[in-house]
């Protein structure tokens, strides 16, 4: 019946519950709630606590709200990485749709030479979007596929090459080493490549997303993040912790399974959604 006119313990706990339930994680929630406690004396309504939190979170996220820019050098090479099932292959299809709509000639490299029907899946996205797909037989060396794709793109005057990779868990040492090799080989194929190394993160993940960003980032330099599956009920709050700790740009949000289901990341919209 009444607006909360005093910042009660109950209200503070309710706010804490909202933050935890959105996967912000212990470190981030603790830090945000410390700010609330410090400001408590000056806060006079329940709404003001929510506003303070929204403001803090939006401020953090604005520092990583950056667009993916296609540089002058061609072809631009993007390396897509991430854990199993995060949405890499599908996101590549969405990026292809977007780049082609912008008038670019796009090549996709089927760098997942391991998983059953991975090449077929990417090829289907090639057909769907009009991007050419470069692949080798199953079991081929991913680094060789990447190398060949870039060389072929250079020769063919392509604008953009997107390299798909097999899903891998960050604690698998040999797979992280394989990733390093792919990254290194891309640089050999073309100076400056890969121009972007994008970590694809599933919004349903909890705190493991932070360790993914940390540990993938120790293997190769990550230039951007794309968060997927934000059309579900997961809020993807781990992104706040990642922003605080690693300040990696978040380029896009995946919001579905179709080619057009990709939106530029908005700190504002994301923060609003956390509290809705």
């Amino acid at each position: 019946l009444f607006e909360a006119s005093v910042v009660t313990d109950e209200l503070v706990e309710k706010m804490e519950e909202i933050l935890y339930s959105a996967d912000l994680g212990v470190a981030t929630v603790t830090s945000l709630m410390d700010e609330v406690r410090k400001a408590r004396g000056a806060l006079t309504t329940g709404d003001s606590v929510r506003d303070l939190l929204k403001d803090q979170i939006a401020t953090i996220l604005r520092t990583v709200e950056k667009p993916l820019v296609v540089p002058a050098q061609r072809p631009m090479v993007l390396l897509m990485i991430g854990v199993n099932g995060a949405g890499k292959t599908t996101t590549i299809g969405k990026l292809a749709r977007r780049f082609i709509a912008d008038g670019h000639r796009v090549t996709l490299a089927a760098g997942d030479t391991f998983r059953a029907a991975a090449v077929e899946q990417l090829s289907a996205w090639g057909v769907r979007t009009g991007a050419e797909v470069i692949s080798e037989k199953e079991g081929a060396d991913p680094a060789a596929v990447a190398f060949n794709a870039v060389n072929s793109a250079v020769a063919g005057g392509r604008d953009i090459v997107i390299i798909d990779t097999a899903g891998r868990l960050q604690n698998r040492v040999n797979l992280m080493e394989e990733l390093r090799k792919v990254h290194r080989v891309l640089g050999k194929a073309l100076d400056g490549a890969p121009h972007e190394t994008i970590l694809v993160i599933d919004a349903n993940n909890g705190q493991n997303a932070v360790s993914q960003a940390r540990e993938f980032g120790e293997a190769v330099p990550i230039t951007g993040i794309i968060a997927t599956k934000l059309d579900g009920t997961a809020k993807g709050g781990a992104l706040v912790g990642i922003a605080r700790e690693l300040a990696i740009p978040v380029y896009f949000a995946g919001i579905g399974e179709a080619a057009d289901d990709l939106r530029p990341f908005s700190a504002e919209a994301f923060t609003e959604a956390l509290f809705s």
């Binding site: 519950e17 935890y20 339930s21 959105a22 996967d23 994680g25 212990v26 854990v83 199993n84 099932g85 995060a86 949405g87 391991f114 998983r115 059953a116 029907a117 077929e120 899946q121 090829s123 289907a124 996205w125 769907r128 899903g167 868990l169 960050q170 604690n171 698998r172 599933d202 349903n204 993940n205 909890g206 705190q207 493991n208 997303a209 360790s211 599956k229 059309d231 579900g232 009920t233 997961a234 809020k235 709050g237 781990a238 399974e257």
Partner: protein, 293 residues
């Protein structure tokens, strides 16, 4: 007073006395943060600690431990009891063909797990298995299951991308009865629990198949939404079990406790890698230790 404080500390160090709300407070705080860090759902953490605290208070403290340490042990034992309850074996005790239906969010590991379970049944229990691809949406999903079936020597129903999943299920059951298969494993498309059309689809598939097992395939890295997601799946199709995948990673796996709290469904298997032989039976002790951290 200071002497009272020292008395308490001395008693605490001596491990004498009973567990009380006071002497476990620090441990409760620490465990709460650890469970949240492990991705156990906020509400589930609250309920769990309230329940364990209520049960623990009044218990004698073992001589050689502090009340805090004793409380941690009570938490561990309670978690093992919760996760260990229920039937962890697949229930195949029906007139064949026994049907297993896979369900879960996008990318959780359903297709791979369907093949793993098929291989497990074929090699360990000598069952004749038919794998059924009913995901007509994801590009090359049918190819994926067909290829997996090929590598492990298990028959795969010949679904086509244009088919209707209900027609596929119907035709596959006919083939299973005609071909005298023991077990049919139906792979479905990943879906979010708020996609009404897709939830209706899987409810319809379930009704048609009358499966003996409906397995919720959950990624070990799943965060707070594990509660809302599994609850809705449970209400729509009735989960009989859970498979936790990607446990070869370093996610703590708190989703296991969350899912159990809202569905009661027992964990039947754990995925520990991408190959079709990387499926393990569930050990509640191991996951409890991992979640508690």
């Amino acid at each position: 007073t200071l002497s009272e404080k020292l008395e308490l500390t001395f008693r605490r160090l001596r491990g004498v006395g009973k567990l009380s709300e006071d002497n476990i407070q620090e441990a409760v705080r620490e465990i709460r943060l650890s469970l949240l860090d492990a991705d156990v759902n906020y509400g589930v953490v609250k309920q769990f600690l309230e329940k364990v605290s209520a049960r623990a208070v009044g218990a004698e403290v073992t001589r050689s431990v502090t009340p805090g340490q004793q409380f941690v042990k009570v938490c561990h034992d309670e978690m093992v009891a919760l996760l260990g309850a229920g039937a962890h074996e697949l229930n195949l005790a029906v007139r064949p063909p026994a049907v297993i239906l896979m369900a879960g969010l996008q990318g959780s590991g359903k297709t791979t797990t369907a093949a793993k379970i098929g291989r497990h049944l074929k090699e360990k229990l000598r069952k004749r298995v038919l794998l059924v691809p009913a995901d007509i949406y994801r590009p090359a999903a049918i190819d994926q299951l067909k290829k997996l079936g090929e590598t492990i020597g298990i028959d795969v129903f010949d679904s086509k991308p244009g088919d209707d999943p209900l027609r596929i299920a119907e035709a596959a059951m006919k083939q299973a009865r005609d071909g005298v298969y023991d077990v049919v494993i139906v792979d479905t498309a990943g879906r979010t629990q708020v996609d009404e059309a897709m939830m209706r689809e899987i409810a319809d598939i379930r009704r048609l198949l009358d499966p003996v097992e409906v397995l919720f395939v959950a990624d070990a890295m799943t965060g707070q939404e594990a509660v809302n997601v599994s609850k809705e799946f449970h209400e729509r199709v009735g989960l009989t079990g859970v498979v936790l995948t990607k446990m070869d990673g370093d996610a703590r796996g708190g989703a296991a406790l969350s899912i159990h709290a809202v569905t009661g469904a027992p964990v039947k298997f754990v995925g520990v890698g991408e190959k079709t032989d990387q499926l393990e039976l569930f050990h509640p002790e191991r996951i409890a230790g991992r979640i508690l951290g």
